[in-house]
Symmetry: C2
Subunit: 208 residues, 2 copies
């Protein structure tokens, strides 16, 4: 039952954001009583903490699989972005915004993930890219890794990119391609030009 509750909550949060989902909604979704939920979790925040923890673990696993699949840092960045867009394609952009605004503890979990795992992963990508001569040697990996993370988060911010005007997938795609081109060396460009059409096809299937 504990797992079913987490699954249902994840599904509802994903579709409607966090703020607007109540314990009643979760109970209704599962066809159980609210009392049953309270036997396992004290409140919505307790459920939210687990939902996020699970989601982060899933993401880490997916990222590690991609790292093995990718032949080089350029491919890795494109795969990681495609996977992220895939994960996010059904997500209500309000979710991240709700988190930041109303659930500081859960937001803290996400921030830790962002800084400890994501940042490290992007940093490694940049370092390896420079070592392989695919990225420019004059980029500051700390500055640009932070930029990349903040870009990804920025695309969710409705005060900057209102949903009515911008599709989040499209914004993320523009950011990815722009970021990648910004770090490429001449050698990196030559390689990128040979794979970009192939990747464009793969990526376009994800774009909404």
């Amino acid at each position: 039952m504990k797992e079913r509750i987490i699954k249902s909550a994840l599904n509802l949060f994903w579709r409607y954001g966090i703020k607007s989902v109540t314990m009643d909604d979760i109970a209704k979704d599962l066809g159980i009583s609210k009392r049953t939920i309270y036997q396992h979790y004290s409140d919505k925040e307790a459920i939210l903490a687990l939902v996020i923890q699970n989601e982060i673990m899933d993401q880490k696993c997916e990222m590690e699989k991609l790292d093995e699949k990718a032949a080089n840092p350029i491919e890795q960045m494109m795969y990681a972005s495609a996977q992220m867009r895939d994960t996010l394609s059904n997500m209500n952009p309000a979710l991240l915004y709700d988190l930041k605004k109303y659930y500081p503890t859960a937001w803290e979990q996400f921030e830790t993930y962002k800084h400890e795992f994501l940042l490290k992963s992007i940093r490694e990508n940049l370092v390896t890219g420079i070592e392989q001569g695919l990225y420019r040697p004059d980029i500051d990996v700390d500055v640009l890794a932070l930029l990349r993370i903040e870009q990804i988060v920025m695309a969710f911010d409705p005060t900057i990119f209102p949903q009515k005007k911008f599709s989040m997938m499209h914004t993320q795609m523009q950011f990815l391609l722009h970021f990648l081109r910004g770090v490429l060396s001449e050698k990196g460009f030559e390689y990128y030009n040979t794979i970009k059409d192939r990747s464009a096809i793969e990526i376009n299937t994800h774009e909404k």
Copy 2:
């Protein structure tokens, strides 16, 4: 006297941020009594509003001069960035942060400037660059103009780029070069490679 007060306040805000500067500090800086200041301005926020309005007007003039000086959008972006770094070189990064956190009305002024003037100016730069074949035709000018503005602001955010670890000038330089490379077409690259060393010299004299 009104103008002297504004000049002194600008100078103090620039050096120490806004929060820590009092009416007493401004009076002391000018060697006048606080009462004299209150004859002209009801409070610090009234002074702040005028300081920002003046600063925005100065910036607009400088930008217009640069537009005339620049031979093309690439040069224009590099000049604009060099000028911005020059303006900001003595600025306490707390200023923008104080503004956002404690002075919502003044922050609103800055936001309006950002959206009405800066955004328009960056957008035009991108459109012209595409028309001249210097930038890729597949960039979304609305998305990337917003990205560029948010990057500039992001470099000031001490929660992302703490002053102890990052020099703001250096972060802004990394952002500019990365942004520019990210939008260049092949023709743009060829041109960029012919001017980047010259510009690097010009720009490095500004970098602290």
